[in-house]
Symmetry: C2
Subunit: 313 residues, 2 copies
C-alpha cells in the first residue's frame, strides 16, 4: 500500500481587479490530505476538521477525491482505488479557496505516489475537476496559487499557462470573515450577481488598476500594490452588496493605514494588505464595526506564502 | 529674445490591449519645435515639413502653439508672445502620435526657456490642451511616452501619474502605413467605431493580455510582450475594419516570426515587434500584401527610444 500526506494553503483570488486571473497563497490555514493507493476495495473519503459535516463523502462529489481520481484517469491507472483522509483546516465557503486547496492536494498526492507522471498544468486540469464539483465552475484562480505558492497570474486559459510572481514581503494580510452565509451555492450566487457587460471606460479603469497591481508586485511597491487592490471597478461594486458594511470596512481600513482592501475571492471574507505589525490593530477596528452592527466576525493575520502544496510526511 | 529648439518623438499608443493607458516612444521620426519668447508682437506659427499644409497656422488651433500658450497661462506669464517654427517630421493622422509630439515639444520648449517652473505632470496637462485641438479628446497615451521616452503606463488620470518602464531592447519595431485616409477627423472616427460596452468575459481576456504585456515588459520577455500585444480582444477587432487586409497582415507577420502585431494608436498604421534584423524582410512581405491588393503603403523600421522630448540647441 502506497501512502502520502500533503498540505495545500488557503488562497485569496482576484486581489481586486484581477478577477479570474490572479491569486495569492497564504501561509495558513492549510488543508491536509492523506492518500492511500490500493489495487482493491472501493474509493473512500473521510473528512475531519472545520465544518467537516458540510463536506460531501461521496467520492464523486468530494473535491479532493474527484481531483485525485482525475489523476488516475489521466495516467490510465483507474485500477487503483483511493482511500483518503481529508482534514479541513480552511473553512469552506468563506472565499479562501477551500475547495481549490483540497482539490490540488488530492491531485498532487496521487501524482506524487505515482512518481510524478503529470506536469503542473495537467495537475491543474485535474484539480479543476474537483473545483467544478464544489463550485459549479472550473476556475483555477484559487488552484494555481495553492499549487505554486507566491502569487500566480493565469497567462493563458487554453492551454493553461501560469506565471508565478514573487510573494509580497514586509506586509501582513488581514482577513476578516463576517459570520454570514451567502448560501450553500455561494460561488454561483456571487457569480450571478456580476454584470454581464461593462462600459468601455470602466474596462479601461479596471485595466489601469490591474496595471498598478502587477507593476506594484514586480517593483515590490506596497503602495502601488494597494492602489491596484483597492481599484476594482467591476467585481467589487457588484459583490459588495453581499457583504455587510463593506464600504465602511474598506474606508476604515484605508484610513487606518492599510495599503489596499478588497473582497477575498467570491467573499464573504474581505482582506487588507497592511504594514507589518498593523494587522491586529486594524483587525480589531474592523471587527468592532461589524460587532456594532450586530454581525459577528473573525479576523486572522497572514503572510503571503512562498510555498504552495507540499508533502508533509 | 529667448529661444530654444527641442524635438519630440513619434509614439505608438495602446500596444494592443493597453488602450488609453500605454505608449512607446520611437527613435524616429521626431518633430522639431523652435520657440522664441518675446514681450511684444503677436503669437505666430510657421510650419514646414511633412504634410505641412494640413497643419493649422491659427495659434488657437495649432497643437504645439496651444500647448505652449497653456504653459504661459499656467505660470501666469501671458504677457509673453510666442514665435514658433514647427518642423513636422512625424506624418499627421497616421497613428504615430504626431500631434502629441508637437504638443509636448511646444510645452516643453516654453517651460525650458522659463527655467522649468512646471513639473512633468503639469507639462502633460498643457500638452493635453494641444492634443485636444488636434484630436478632439485630451488623451495622454501618446504624450506621456513623447515626454519620458521608453514605455509609459498611465497609473492615474486624475491626478495624472505616469510610470515609466524601460524600453524594449533587442527587437525592432516595424511600422507599416497604408496610404489611406480614414478621414480628417480620424481619431474621432476611430473612437466612435469602438463598442460602448464589452462582455465581462471579454474584459477578463483583455486584462489577461494586458497582464502578459506588462509582465513581459518587466521581465524583458519578447515572446510574452508579443503575446500581449497581439491579444487585443476589444479595440483591434473594432478598428481592424478601417484598415485594409488587417488580419492578412497580422497573420503573415506572426507566421514570419513577429513577436506581436497590432494597430498603432488609432491607426491606420500597424506595427509589429520583430527580432533584430528581421524588420526589412517582414516589412517587404507586408508591403507586398497591400500592393497585391492595390493599396500603396510605406514601412519603416524603428527602435523603442530611451529618450523622450529633448533640447537640440
Amino acid at each position: 500500500m502506497l501512502s502520502i500526506r500533503v498540505t495545500a494553503p488557503a488562497t485569496i483570488a482576484n486581489l481586486g481587479p484581477g478577477f479570474d486571473l490572479i491569486g495569492m497563497a497564504l501561509d495558513k490555514p492549510r488543508d491536509i490530505v492523506e492518500v492511500f493507493l490500493e489495487e482493491k476495495g472501493e474509493d473512500e473519503v473521510k473528512v475531519s476538521g472545520l465544518q467537516a459535516s458540510d463536506i460531501p463523502l461521496d467520492p464523486n462529489k468530494n473535491s479532493a477525491m474527484v481531483a485525485a481520481k482525475a489523476v488516475l484517469k489521466k495516467v490510465k491507472k483507474e485500477n487503483f482505488k483511493i482511500k483518503m483522509n481529508l482534514i479541513k483546516e480552511i473553512p469552506p465557503r468563506r472565499g479562501l479557496g477551500s475547495s481549490g486547496a483540497s482539490s490540488i492536494a488530492g491531485a498532487y498526492a496521487v501524482n506524487c505516489i505515482l512518481g510524478n507522471p503529470l506536469k503542473s498544468e495537467e495537475l491543474l486540469e485535474c484539480a479543476m475537476e474537483g473545483e467544478k464539483v464544489a463550485c459549479g465552475s472550473p476556475h483555477i484562480d484559487n488552484i494555481a496559487p495553492a499549487l505554486f505558492g507566491g502569487i500566480t497570474f493565469i497567462s493563458s486559459f487554453n492551454p493553461i499557462r501560469i506565471i508565478r510572481l514573487e510573494p509580497i514581503k514586509n506586509a501582513e494580510i488581514l482577513v476578516l470573515s463576517p459570520k454570514i452565509e451567502i448560501g450553500i451555492e455561494k460561488t454561483k450566487i456571487a457569480r450571478e450577481i456580476l454584470p454581464k457587460e461593462v462600459m468601455l471606460k470602466t474596462m479601461v479603469n479596471q485595466i489601469q488598476s490591474f496595471g498598478n497591481l502587477i507593476i506594484g508586485l514586480m517593483k515590490k511597491d506596497l503602495n502601488l500594490i494597494g492602489l491596484g487592490i483597492s481599484g476594482d471597478h467591476v467585481i467589487e461594486p457588484a459583490r459588495a452588496k453581499l457583504i455587510p458594511r463593506f464600504y465602511d470596512l474598506k474606508n476604515r481600513a484605508l484610513e487606518n493605514g492599510a495599503y489596499g482592501f478588497s473582497i477575498s475571492g467570491a467573499g464573504p471574507s474581505v482582506f487588507a494588505l497592511v504594514p507589518k505589525g498593523e494587522g491586529k490593530r486594524i483587525g480589531e477596528i474592523l471587527y468592532s464595526i461589524l460587532r456594532e452592527n450586530g454581525i459577528l466576525s473573525e479576523y486572522s493575520i497572514h503572510e503571503n506564502s512562498e510555498d504552495g502544496v507540499k508533502i508533509v510526511s
